[in-house]
């Protein structure tokens, strides 16, 4: 029996935030009915957009592959229910950049007819790890914690490193969000089964499932399943409730006391982190043969009448979900996709639920922290920074646009958790400033790479022109040589022949 353990590493800084999770965890997960229309963006993952494989007017079945990425980084997309494709067009979407994204729009017929699986799922333990990864790739599975990195590619990358620990992230430290909590309570067995599949794919023998201490029900449910499963490789870890302990690097530090190097990945210290929701999705695909076509998401905030967790089909619009679960309250003012710290506010509820959507937050008023004042260099931000950066220095250099210093002070390691914003007594929007500075640095790096490439091409061209000129000269010289060797009579002969020819032509 695996009992919760407390032998943990330390996390620098962080904040204890009001959880606001109890509103949405009172009721069990609500099964969202199939909507009239599904809107599926072709980019729901890190990497290149998937290319649509269906045409307008085509009938699709539930679980049918409708878009597939090229050979590069990406994940396929499946139809979430049966129906007819009515459009492939730009649609409002919640994205980091831009407000619309190309989407495949399906009018559902309500029959929810599933596609016949091509092959019966074999026992995963008989599959070679590489075959298992390719199978995971076909399921369209991406990291459901919010980063939506294609899981199969993450696993393949990890296979090239020496990995000894698999970490399942059930921390969910951001306020309001409770979808992983409810998933662990109700589908703990799926999470554990997903962990076993992942361990087989990675060929590792240690798995930690990390859950925050404010989720006793989830801890109990997982403990019971682990006790029954008698799998001694999987250990349940209770971690303290501190934001942002659920960040990938922070969790590795907390659970294994290994520090992920600057600019590195957890795989550099022998760890691979997966979200518990991702593990459950892998179970659904490998054992249940259902690709990633639905997910649990939290609908909460004081702007909705009935905060609850729902399991909805990917592509259901946010408006449909809120309406079905009880609608808005009169005070609803702001719609945020994601949590209050790292989420993005959107202007319309026509945006669809995508694989990344872990929370739909509707707030009544925009919390106004007060006017921005000058930095007084109190250092409160440095004390809470979980990456141990110096936000006050970074702010200084961001204002001065000093790229070299910003790099030197580790701006690129900023995880944009927002802790420094919250504690700043001068109400400086530090994270927003850092985000801008980061994109500026990336832009400069791109420009530099472009210039270097242009220079190489220019130099290669100059060399080629030089070489061609030399070759031409060498050939001319050779012709002169051979003419000289033949003697003046031969030259006279040639000239005579040429003259005759031109006369003939006349």
């Amino acid at each position: 029996m695996s009992a919760p353990t407390y032998d943990l590493g330390t996390l620098h800084g962080g904040l204890r935030l009001p959880g606001n999770k109890e509103q949405s965890t009172r009721n069990p997960i609500f099964e969202m009915p199939i909507p009239a229309q599904l809107v599926l963006p072709i980019t729901q993952h890190v990497g290149d957009p998937a290319q649509p494989l269906v045409g307008i007017g085509e009938r699709v079945l539930k679980g049918q592959l409708i878009a597939r990425p090229d050979e590069t980084l990406g994940a396929p997309i499946h139809a979430s229910s049966s129906g007819t494709v009515v459009a492939i067009e730009p649609w409002p979407a919640s994205r980091r950049f831009g407000d619309t994204a190309p989407c495949i729009v399906i009018d559902c017929d309500g029959k929810d007819e599933a596609i016949v699986p091509a092959d019966k799922p074999a026992d995963f333990t008989t599959l070679a790890p590489d075959d298992l990864m390719h199978r995971i790739l076909d399921g369209g599975i991406v990291g459901l914690g919010g980063a939506v990195f294609p899981t199969a590619q993450k696993l393949m990358q990890a296979r090239t490193c020496k990995i000894d620990h698999l970490l399942l992230n059930g921390v969910e430290c951001e306020p309001y969000i409770s979808c992983d909590d409810m998933l662990m309570r109700e589908n703990a067995a799926d999470v554990v089964s997903g962990a076993q599949i992942l361990m087989h794919a990675l060929q590792v023998n240690v798995c930690f499932i990390a859950v925050e201490s404010d989720k006793p029900n989830a801890l109990r449910a997982l403990g019971e399943v682990l006790g029954a499963a008698k799998d001694s490789r999987i250990v349940l870890k209770q971690v303290p409730t501190i934001y942002p302990s659920g960040g990938e690097d922070q969790l590795v530090q907390l659970v294994t006391n290994r520090e992920v190097p600057s600019g590195g990945l957890p795989t550099d210290v022998g760890c691979l982190v997966q979200n518990v929701g991702t593990a459950a999705a892998i179970h659904d695909w490998i054992i249940g043969n259902t690709p990633l076509i639905s997910r649990v998401t939290t609908v909460t905030g004081d702007g909705v009448a009935k905060p609850v967790n729902v399991r909805a089909r990917i592509g259901t619009t946010i408006g449909d979900i809120i309406e079905t679960t009880g609608g808005y309250t009169d005070r609803a003012e702001m719609l945020i996709i994601g949590g209050p710290m790292t989420g993005k506010s959107v202007s319309t509820d026509r945006v669809p639920l995508v694989k990344a959507t872990n929370c739909i937050l509707v707030l009544s008023h925009t919390p106004s922290p007060g006017p921005e004042m000058p930095c007084i260099r109190c250092g409160d931000c440095a004390a809470v920074c979980p990456v141990q950066l110096l936000p006050q220095q970074l702010f200084w250099y961001a204002c001065a646009d000093d790229e070299v210093k910003l790099r030197e002070f580790g701006l690129m390691d900023c995880i944009e958790c927002g802790c420094c914003d919250l504690v700043c007594p001068s109400h400086i929007p530090l994270t927003a400033d850092f985000r801008v500075a980061k994109s500026r640095i990336r832009e400069l790096a791109d420009e530099k790479a472009r210039a270097a490439r242009a220079r190489l091409r220019f130099e290669a061209r100059s060399q080629r022109l030089e070489r061609e000129k030399d070759e031409r000269e060498a050939e001319l010289a050779m012709q002169k040589e051979s003419a000289k060797a033949a003697g003046p009579s031969a030259i006279a002969e040639i000239l005579k022949r040429k003259q005759k020819k031109s006369e003939d032509e006349k």
């Binding site: 420009e447 472009r450 210039a451 270097a452 242009a454 220079r455 091409r457 220019f458 290669a460």
Partner: protein, 160 residues
């Protein structure tokens, strides 16, 4: 006697340290400086500065025959960096341009290859009497292909 030896030795030591620091901090030679200036230039090879390419312009700056504000594609940013490197004053750009790429109107192209030979970075592909095309990711927006085109089918499109 001993005092003199110690004094001279310490002077020699201090001078040595000073020289080695100077050697590290200051540009070693003109050739090196040309490289460093060249690295700051945008490498569009557009010749808008009046020199046949970025490197010749860099040499001209070192020879003090060219000002540092002659590079429109580099923008104010490049002027600022050059001023910083050379310890000169920041001067406003002679003219500014928007970053853009060349686009060939494929319906009009007659396949004369004039633009292909004009491109300083080999970013135009196409054979004789066949349609040409710009490799957008490699185009530096130097506009050198626009003038040679006999049917005026090349236009510059700003990068958004």
């Amino acid at each position: 006697m001993l005092t003199a030896v110690i004094t001279l030795a310490s002077i020699a030591l201090i001078a040595g340290i000073g020289l080695s620091v100077a050697a590290r901090r200051l540009p070693a030679s003109d050739g090196d400086l040309v490289e460093r200036i060249n690295a700051l230039l945008p490498q569009t090879q557009c010749a808008q500065c009046g020199y046949p390419g970025c490197r010749p312009y860099a040499s001209a700056i070192v020879d003090n025959t060219a000002a540092i504000n002659l590079c429109p594609p580099g923008g104010e940013e490049t002027v600022r960096r050059l001023a910083e490197l050379l310890g000169r004053d920041i001067v406003p750009l002679v003219e500014s341009t928007v970053p853009s790429v060349a686009v060939i109107d494929e319906a009009l192209c007659i396949g004369c290859t004039h633009c292909r030979s004009a491109c300083p970075v080999d970013a135009i592909v196409g054979a004789h009497h066949l349609m040409h095309s710009v490799i957008e990711s490699e185009c530096t927006g130097c506009e050198l292909c626009v003038a040679p085109c006999p049917v005026d089918c090349i236009s510059m499109r700003p990068i958004t």
